[in-house]
Amino acid sequence: MKLTLKIWRQKNASSKGQMVEYPLNGIEEDMSFLEMLDVLNEELNNKGEEPIEFDHDCREGICGACSLMINGRAHGPGSRITACQLHMRSFNDGDSITIEPWRAKAFPVIKDLIVDRSAFDRIQQAGGYISVNTSGNPVDANAIPIEKENADMAFNAATCIGCGACVAACKNASAMLFTSAKISQFALLPQGQVEANERVQNMVRQMDLEGFGNCTNTGACEVECPKGISLENIARMNREYYSASVKG
């Protein structure tokens, strides 16, 4: 395959970035999108130019590190997929492909295609946990039976990989899908009840402080989420938030 890549290059957070065009040959259908970038980087390297920096680690769709905006879509074409799982068979010979970083005020660019997503960590630190002592727990695990349906729903919410595609896909750069997935997981489990009120209030407050936008129910987040996190979680978060506010 022969491709033309248009890639965002930016030296660091404070410098101005620009799109740069790179022609690329000899790409095979079986390569993943990131392996295609490896090939380009090897070429750049051989020419003595600086390779393109992008975040990635597991390359199997689970760590949530990869974060490419490909032809205007978070993680590229296809649904329920991360950029590392995207394969070149999804493209055609002669295609021109634009590759950009996530763009959101709360995710500043670090270099080229890498952004800073530590805002997500801070939202979690604001209450995304159950305050149980970690140094030994005498309660037998089966002493807390959980209805299978709830356990499955909690699991589904917990599958969020923290990639930030929901934010990148949203015209308001809202982090509601991510935050609500975390809140849902604990809201659905008996262990999470005790701190439920504080949790939702603190996490929502932190989310706002980080500068994420508001949710206007567009639903682009759900469409682009690689793990299929559902909008129901946002509804659940809103209910939790409302009831917490009423209780004060």
């Binding site: 689970i62 149980v132 695990a141």
Partner: protein, 667 residues
């Protein structure tokens, strides 16, 4: 025992851990506030250790190279975590888990450590459930279990095919709580480049901020390395791209012994290599072997026709297939341990029966399971006369509920639907049983330097059974290290903060800087990946699934040559004062180039076959591994003396007081 003191407590096996805990020194809670601990690595081992140490009151600083602790490679573990809960009432017990683990490791692990692991395994599940980890459940609301390779009981707890993710998120949440309380200071996008010793004790690290390139000094009273495994040495593996040996190797260079470096697990169920540009291999969880049947064609002509695309696997009838695991190992069948399953696949492919283009793949077939589950489902839903199409559909639904995400992952990569045509699998490098030598307290041979999780060598012997790495990481982090480290730290309550302006820190920083400069100054012609791939080829071909003396010697020489070439000719573009992924890779590959040679040397000295280490010279007439307990019932622990060729071997003799050493048989 030479200078290796395992510190295994005396007394009966079942009481060792309790007795030990009762007698080790404790640090008064008020004094813990004056003690700092560095934890490098935030995977299951590091994350759980950091959270627990902070909970106990110590001041903890964590480091990871990813942008968030939650992305450590533990996230990728699919299958499950073991615990001797006996919830299924199928006869499981602490002893049985202990026994299976020691036997599965081919009697090359330390008895007392493994027993402790089995003992604390039950606490892990209690702990994680309390933290809100959403394990799979049955309709009655109780926890569900499944079984894994090498064992005959259902003791594996799981969260679909994402157990590692859910457990790591649990540990990460526990960390977050301590970060919020100010007890953990988390340093992300930071890489440890060296260990600093003061008066022979580990007192800090040199780290590089991977965004600004700044070199930083961090001090502490003790340093915990929980930096994962080094399988990326092989270039192609199931590890994440950043997995490395750097922290462990730096500690090795400072005096920590490296144990059993050649014990590497090759996992039998990975997606086969597709082409030259491949950057990594993807695992298909071993839990699939509970339901999938492994086979290759019986006739060479059929295998060839399949490779040429003239025949489809579904066209071969039951009688034309060779279910070689069921044939060779009737008792365990498709559930034999990983080393046995991997070697058997290689044997069939080497004999010409491989089924993909490269001839390096076997089938993992779900057809029988789909029909079996379908029939059961039809009956329980009152459809007595369901036709095959309906049965198949019902069966596919059951299989999807169990393994859906794995099947999706396979389809995305290979572009074939595994519900309709059997999966293709082949063994790949997956886990390193070797690592830093540690005593019973998880302390390395450097006082104050501890190693936990995959970074240490301790519990798995020559082969790791499925679902036991997560167990070990969490056992080390939640339940072992936080106690044992107190024994050492109790001497430090009056030490006060460790200054970072000492000559030792100056020297370590200077070393680090000159190393980085050396890497950056190469006017070379080759990229880092060029060297990494070359190293990987040598490792896979000569130190891979089977080894012999001649090739190991060749590997030693070739790696030494490659290393010399690397330092002459590597090219690292850009600068060191900014994010520079090529520089990060260069540092890691430089260490792999040393470790690789030690690895081959270790394999060469071990004149026996055990677990993941298969020496062609030592096998039974049936091609099974031939152990030599007389001469090799030891842990090899290597002391650094400059170049890997000068490394000195120390032996920790393994003592089995409670288990009789038997030939492993899964027939």
């Amino acid at each position: 025992m030479g200078i290796l003191d395992s510190k295994v407590p005396t007394g009966p096996l079942a009481d060792k851990w309790t007795n030990h805990k009762n007698h080790i020194d404790l640090v008064n809670p008020a004094n813990k506030r004056n003690i700092d601990i560095i934890v490098v690595g935030t995977g299951l081992a590091g994350g759980s250790a950091a959270a627990t140490l902070a909970e106990l009151g110590y001041n903890v600083k964590t480091f990871c190279y990813q942008d968030s602790p939650r992305r450590a490679h533990s996230i990728a573990a699919q299958g499950g975590v073991n615990a001797a809960k006996n919830y299924q009432g199928d006869g499981d017990s602490v002893y049985r888990l202990f026994y299976d683990t020691v036997k599965g490791g081919d009697y090359r692990s330390r008895e007392a450590n493994v027993y402790r692991l089995a003992q604390v395994s039950t606490n892990i599940i209690d702990q994680c459930v309390a933290q809100g980890v959403p394990f799979a459940r049955e309709y009655g609301g109780l926890l569900d279990n499944r079984s894994f390779g090498g064992v005959l009981v259902s003791r594996t707890f799981y969260a679909k095919g994402q157990t590692g993710q859910q457990l790591l998120l649990g540990a990460y949440a526990a960390m977050n709580r301590q970060i919020q309380r100010g007890k953990i200071k988390s340093h992300t996008r930071h890489e440890m480049l060296d260990l600093v010793l003061v008066d022979g004790k580990a007192r800090g690290i040199i780290a590089r901020d991977l965004v600004t390139g700044e070199i930083e000094r961090h001090s502490a009273h003790a340093v915990v390395l929980a930096t994962g495994g080094y399988g990326n040495l092989f270039f192609l593996s199931t590890y994440c791209m950043g997995a490395n040996v750097m922290a462990a190797w730096r500690a090795h260079r400072r005096g920590a012994f490296m144990a059993n470096p050649c014990f590497t697990q090759i996992h039998p169920t990975c997606i086969p290599v597709s082409g030259d540009h491949q950057s990594k291999l993807t695992l298909m969880s071993e839990s699939l072997r509970n339901d999938g049947r492994i086979w290759v064609p019986k006739r060479l002509e059929d295998a060839q026709a399949i490779r040429e695309g003239k025949l489809k696997p579904t066209q071969l009838g039951e009688g034309e297939r060779d279910y070689y695991l069921e044939r060779r190992y009737p008792a365990f069948g498709n559930l034999v341990p990983r080393d046995v399953a991997s070697r058997a696949a290689k044997e069939r492919c080497d004999a010409g029966f491989g089924v993909n283009k490269t001839g390096e793949a076997v089938y993992l077939d779900f057809d029988a399971a789909i029909m079996r589950y379908g029939r059961e489902k039809a009956l329980t839903s009152g459809m007595k006369d369901a036709d095959d199409t309906t049965v198949r559909q019902l069966g596919e639904e059951v299989v999807e509920a169990k393994y859906g995400n794995l099947f999706d992952m396979y389809e995305k990569i290979v572009d074939q639907n595994p519900y309709k045509t059997p999966m293709m699998i082949y063994p790949a490098v997956h886990y390193t049983m070797g690592g830093l030598w540690v005593d019973y307290n998880l302390q390395t041979t450097i006082p104050g330097c501890y190693a936990a999780g995959e970074a240490n060598f301790s519990d798995h012997g020559a082969n790791r059974l499925g679902a036991s790495a997560l167990m070990q990481g969490l056992a080390d982090g939640y339940f072992v290290l936080p106690y044992t480290i107190g024994d050492y730290l109790s001497d430090d309550i009056r030490t006060g903060a460790i200054p970072t302006d000492s000559p030792e820190f100056d020297a370590a920083e200077a070393d680090t800087r000159s190393r980085l400069e050396k890497l950056m100054s190469g006017k070379g012609t080759h990229s880092v990946d060029y060297y990494h791939k070359k190293l990987g080829k040598i490792m896979w071909n000569k130190c891979g699934m089977s080894r012999n003396a001649k090739e190991l010697q060749e590997a030693i020489d070739e790696i030494a040559e490659l290393r010399a070439d690397f330092w002459e000719n590597v090219r690292v573009p850009g600068t060191a004062d900014t994010k520079n992924q090529e520089l990060e890779k260069a540092g890691r590959v430089a260490d792999f180039l040393e470790l690789g040679e030690l690895f081959a040397k270790d394999a060469l000295t071990r004149n026996e076959s055990c677990g993941g280490h298969f020496r062609e010279e030592y096998q039974t007439p049936e091609g099974e591994a031939l152990r030599d307990d007389e001469n090799f019932k030891f842990v090899s622990a290597w002391e650094y003396k400059g170049a890997p060729k000068d490394a000195v071997l120390h032996k920790e003799q393994l003592v089995y007081e409670n288990i009789e050493l038997k030939t492993r048989s899964y027939k």
